[in-house]
Symmetry: C2
Subunit: 634 residues, 2 copies
Amino acid sequence: MADVLSGVASPSDVRALPEAALPGLCEALREAIITTCGRVGGHLGASLGAVELVVALHRVFHTPQDALLFDVGHQAYAHKLLTGRRDRMHTLRQAGGIAPFLDPRESHHDALAAGHACTAISAALGLLAGRRQLGHPGHVVAVVGDGALTGGLSFEGLNNAGGSPLPLVVVLNDNQMSISANVGAIPALLRTRNARAFFESLGFTYLGPVDGHDLGALTRALREAKASSRPVVVHALTKKGRGFPPAEADEQTRGHAMGPYEWRDGKLVRSRGGRPTFSEAFAQVLGEALERDPRVVAVTPAMLEGSALTGLKARFPDRVHDVGIAEQHAVTFCAGLAAAGAKPVCVIYSTFLQRAYDQVVHDVCLPGLPVVFAVDRAGLVGADGATHQGAYDVSFLRPLPGLTQWAPMVGEDLAPMLATALQASGPSVLRFPRGTLPDLPPELAHAEPEVTGPSAPAVTAAHGQPAPDARSVTSGRPLSAAVPGGASTSAPGQPAPDALAVSGARWLKRVPGARLTLVTLGPLGLSALEAARNEPDWSVLDARRAWPLDEAALLEAAAGGHVVVAEEGTVRGGLGSAVLELYAAAGIAPRVKLLGMPDVFLPHGDARVQRTQLGLDAAGLRHAGHALLGEERR
Amino acid sequence: MADVLSGVASPSDVRALPEAALPGLCEALREAIITTCGRVGGHLGASLGAVELVVALHRVFHTPQDALLFDVGHQAYAHKLLTGRRDRMHTLRQAGGIAPFLDPRESHHDALAAGHACTAISAALGLLAGRRQLGHPGHVVAVVGDGALTGGLSFEGLNNAGGSPLPLVVVLNDNQMSISANVGAIPALLRTRNARAFFESLGFTYLGPVDGHDLGALTRALREAKASSRPVVVHALTKKGRGFPPAEADEQTRGHAMGPYEWRDGKLVRSRGGRPTFSEAFAQVLGEALERDPRVVAVTPAMLEGSALTGLKARFPDRVHDVGIAEQHAVTFCAGLAAAGAKPVCVIYSTFLQRAYDQVVHDVCLPGLPVVFAVDRAGLVGADGATHQGAYDVSFLRPLPGLTQWAPMVGEDLAPMLATALQASGPSVLRFPRGTLPDLPPELAHAEPEVTGPSAPAVTAAHGQPAPDARSVTSGRPLSAAVPGGASTSAPGQPAPDALAVSGARWLKRVPGARLTLVTLGPLGLSALEAARNEPDWSVLDARRAWPLDEAALLEAAAGGHVVVAEEGTVRGGLGSAVLELYAAAGIAPRVKLLGMPDVFLPHGDARVQRTQLGLDAAGLRHAGHALLGEERR
């Protein structure tokens, strides 16, 4: 098997193979994908389903003269293996290694970079229009999953392409799944003769459906498409996870994104992290809110799996809405729900909330509707890489009037913050990171109500400007009362207790006469506490709200003349920038150092390593504090 | 005529009228719409086309128990007239007057606020789902123009609604227009039997097409839709501008948005502003770029009219692409064009660029493609009001790596800035405001190359960090060399001369040893120059680039210890915030005052009046400077 593959260094080698060798090539590709993903994890299911399709595409089209654009790119591991990247596939999704998606900087056989769904048709049409205008020859093919058809951008592209004379080729890789099952009217449409009617009504020639695992049928259809002088769609039916029984047997996602696994005694063993993730902890408190208040509704654009909501969907099938890959609709749908008096919680990754920015501005914030945005994957995302970094949410949301932004430091913050957001009369955000829950330091779990100085860090509420409708915090209540997975703080059917509400910032360490304060957002507070452990004149303030600021607490933080603000997000316009605006308005001028994500698109890698490299761990915060103090002594 | 209307104070009065009175009611509504728009301007065409539809909707559905959501809302003047706002219609779009679009805060017959297209289906589905969940009765109707069907959000809503059991009623108000003619495959689809196939394939019951000016047919179709137990679409064919000959005769837009007009001697006389607008001036320099370089392409999502591009579309039909109401596609299409080696210029309003935020992040900035965004309507938008304010672009774009943001102060800046952006290897923004070009003060038009102090303001380039690929500025070159409408600086077919390139900030007034510097973005530089005219120790710096900053110039600006930063955009995360970040990083602490748009959604009104109220005129800037200096003396 491997022999076939080792003889293929580029697509021209694929085209040189005799037809009889192709089934063996496909088998070798599947073996390589399964082995790679078993070793390092990855987007297994979609790539296994597209093996024959990728081979057929390279038999018919000649990259890079012809351009293949794979939507998202997670179905294109076979394409990576056939385009000179086989020897490095074991570095997939790791720092310095093969990218999780496609990127022209990695191979000139990748026409365009992507990682978000639904971009391929529009980008391909632009590429084709540009090439024609400049007199460059070549065909342009957009390979699009059926999941991406629910996304509005795909439709905008289809409408423009179908009304254009350019011979764009769209290949529909229809595996009946988004990440989990596809939703809305599209799935039924694609299973019937309506598929032809739909695409023909949009101006496309329709070819298919063809068996996406039949190389002969695929090749014939693609050749016909290549010969077309007008827009054409090839509808290929594929099976996600094809050829790997554990993926085929996984009814939820068909092995969409699997972590590393191995075979032991003939059985598949998947390694699993021990601690729950922030997503899982949030899903739990959301479940409690759904139980407690019949007005609560959850909405997510195809992130049921990623945000650990499948259990809730099973428990509350009518109140947990997966609207498919349709971020804009998810947010405007929530606006409608809120206008009706429901309490929608929109669960969405930071990077995908970018897709719905205008809907947040225009449909939610402008009318001031009480939609709660649970912004998952906020900050560094590790192996998912540059396309998925949650770097911008605080900055693009902060200017929006009336929107309150919360950030939990530990899992124990989730329940009170969600309760506070659900009580608010306007919109709120809860941003939490990808990854497992941090340990709660013992001194925080058993915090005393009073400020006692550096030797006994205390959790107390700073008395700042309260958030709209937020009730006052119960200072010093042990955080462990709301531990996810521990005892629930309220019985089903009961309203959220007042004690759950939070307001402003929280002093993690409050030293009278401190020279320097570390101000943080989210779990960075724990690193700051560690950084300040042996610094008797440093205070630590967990901002808790990125916006609006707890002004009183932040003015107190400036009293010693030195403030380090650290956040896992861009430093441009984020919390640090907000703090600078506050100090300028107050006419005070402490020395301020901003730490955060830099002005580059951070690539894939280990988030913990990246955090260290960016100076966002305890050592980095300590160093920043000393540097700020040291500069003054110069 | 007017008598019929004066007897109608609410929708129940409409339902109480005998059928025979309805044609007279429609005629009276048209008369009121024509009179109102003649007096104060407004969205004439769409509202005239929807008169019978609005009357029929109120005959069949009972607001507010039933909810009517008009997409955009600009077709709903008849609805305003029938819901108790007739006596105030003469205040339309003016400060404190009737809103340009719909808003529940204005009438409980308006179900949801909107002003951007394509939101109605998603919002209506959410409203219906929320009402059902909470046990509230009532029908929900989304009235959507055919122009909005090209927008992805509408499709996302249709897909979700068509796959849902909820009996959402969608009324398609099909006038064959977006703002100008509708584009892509949708127009042909709606003119054929494909319309039925399209909506049925998406899971809707299809009723129609019906004559949208036949009250009987409309009423019957709406009653049938009301009785449906599943999603249903009513396809009504209407004529934009119906009943007003000058609008019907306007082939471009059918009187979409007309300024005030009056009848004189039987002829329609429209008042027109004398000076060209920023949009017109930009269209002219874009035309010169199209002539000069065959790689240049213009793309706009349905803003041909608003951004004055119809002339260019006629001159360069294959290189000026109107992609319809499809902002996301417009940007990703540009990414494809740039990847092919073309030089796309995406002309889009600031408020609509919000719709394509992720496409700017993921499709353009991440791969670093040289797309130029001409961001029109940046800043205050006057009569268009809260939904359309161009408040956020600098803030949401500033964190994006590699994106350079330019802002012209005067029309003369447009040509060199566009030339610089087209020469860049990465993406650029040019943001310019709604409104007419300012006068160029004589001292700037005849500027000398040397800095001569306060008595002779000079235009010189600050020597800051150059923008990527920007060539150096020709200091002191008279600005009038590039006056739009004057002599072109280059003959057709010739490359842009080097002299056209700009780099960093520009000193409008540079006083050695200045105590205070006014730093501005865009036309505010002229107000700052006026504010500083009698202040011998104030300098004025036109930042020109909102990002990246011209660091050397801005550090020099801080030398006197007092800096006022003024921008027409939110103060949260904008230019002022960037300046604060720079000073913090440099370890300097001048007193800084930020001026800009406040933390509220600014309503409709006269932009010049609002500018004064916000302190963004010369008097406001002068006051801010004195206050900043005065605080120090306290």
